[in-house]
């Protein structure tokens, strides 16, 4: 599995006004800080620090994450849907890279 691969799962069909749960998984090492003799080891480590989700371009969810989130972060969040559309989830890591995944919700 390559870093930054986003897998996203939504219900196949939804009803208007229904609250659907979006489950999303991203492959990322989420490196932690290592210590040697009480001093942090200097290395170029990175982790995802911001997650954003939009529905039809409208922001619905945001998260601020730290290194205390597990490797290959898994996330589930709700959206109340009133029309069919596309969920787009973007992960930002401290290297400045972004990883995006999207899924369609049909009615």
């Amino acid at each position: 599995m390559s870093v930054g691969q986003v897998r996203i799962r939504v219900p196949e069909k939804a009803k208007p006004g229904e609250v659907v749960t979006v489950r999303v998984l991203v492959t990322h090492p989420m490196e932690t800080l290592e210590f040697k003799g009480g001093k942090p080891v200097v290395k170029n480590y990175s982790y995802i620090h911001r997650i954003e989700a939009t529905y039809n371009g409208r922001k619905v969810f945001e998260a601020e994450t730290t290194q205390a989130v597990s490797q290959n972060p898994l996330l589930a969040f709700p959206i109340k849907v009133s029309e069919p559309g596309t969920v787009r989830v973007t992960f930002h890591d401290t290297d400045g890279k972004t990883y995006t995944g999207q899924a369609d919700i049909k009615f």
Binding site: V19, K43, Y47, A63, E64, V69, Q71, L74
Partner: protein, 168 residues
């Protein structure tokens, strides 16, 4: 005859020693090599005590006991502190006037207790999130819901972390 047999065994022993040495060497070279150059992004942040974290995030606002209104699903015993699944369900209003703005996950004994913050909008429909977190040691995991008007509701659960997954 006797001598040749002895010779054979000692040669065999020597050969075994050699193999062992080769094994140790290859292990040494396999060890991960660190030391890549540090760049600006993701630079280490200072350690923080739980009281300082609470003060930084919430100032002097007091956190009300949420009781039934905030449910936290976490394992009683996490065999692997690297992956602790959490599920948070809030029975709090999610309307345009009053909604859960932020959900904070705070682990008391982590180096930096603030684990994650989830920002919601009334479009979420309900305040319910799930994720996996890391725990450094057995500690309380607090979940605090911040309402749009600034009210704070909190709940906590102790999660035991067993090192090496050997139970107890």
């Amino acid at each position: 005859m006797d001598r040749t047999r002895k010779g054979f065994w000692s040669a065999r022993r020597r050969a075994l020693k050699l193999i062992g040495a080769a094994g140790a060497l290859s292990l040494g070279t396999l060890l991960p090599l660190h030391g890549a150059l540090a760049q600006g992004a993701g630079m280490p942040q200072e350690d923080e005590k739980i009281a300082d974290t609470m003060k930084r995030l919430f100032g002097n606002r007091s956190v009300q006991e949420a009781g039934e209104r905030l449910k936290l699903d976490a394992p009683m015993i996490a065999e692997n502190g690297a992956v602790v699944p959490l599920k948070i369900d809030a029975e709090l209003p999610m309307t345009k006037e009053s909604y859960v703005k932020n959900i904070y996950v705070i682990a008391d004994k982590n180096r930096r207790p603030m684990n994650a913050r989830f920002a919601l909008t009334p479009d979420a429909g309900k305040a319910s999130v799930a994720t996996n977190i890391r725990l450094a040691a057995t500690s309380d995991v607090r979940v605090i819901a911040e309402m749009s008007d600034g009210a704070l509701y909190g709940t906590k659960r102790e999660v035991k972390v067993t090192v090496g997954g050997c139970g107890g």
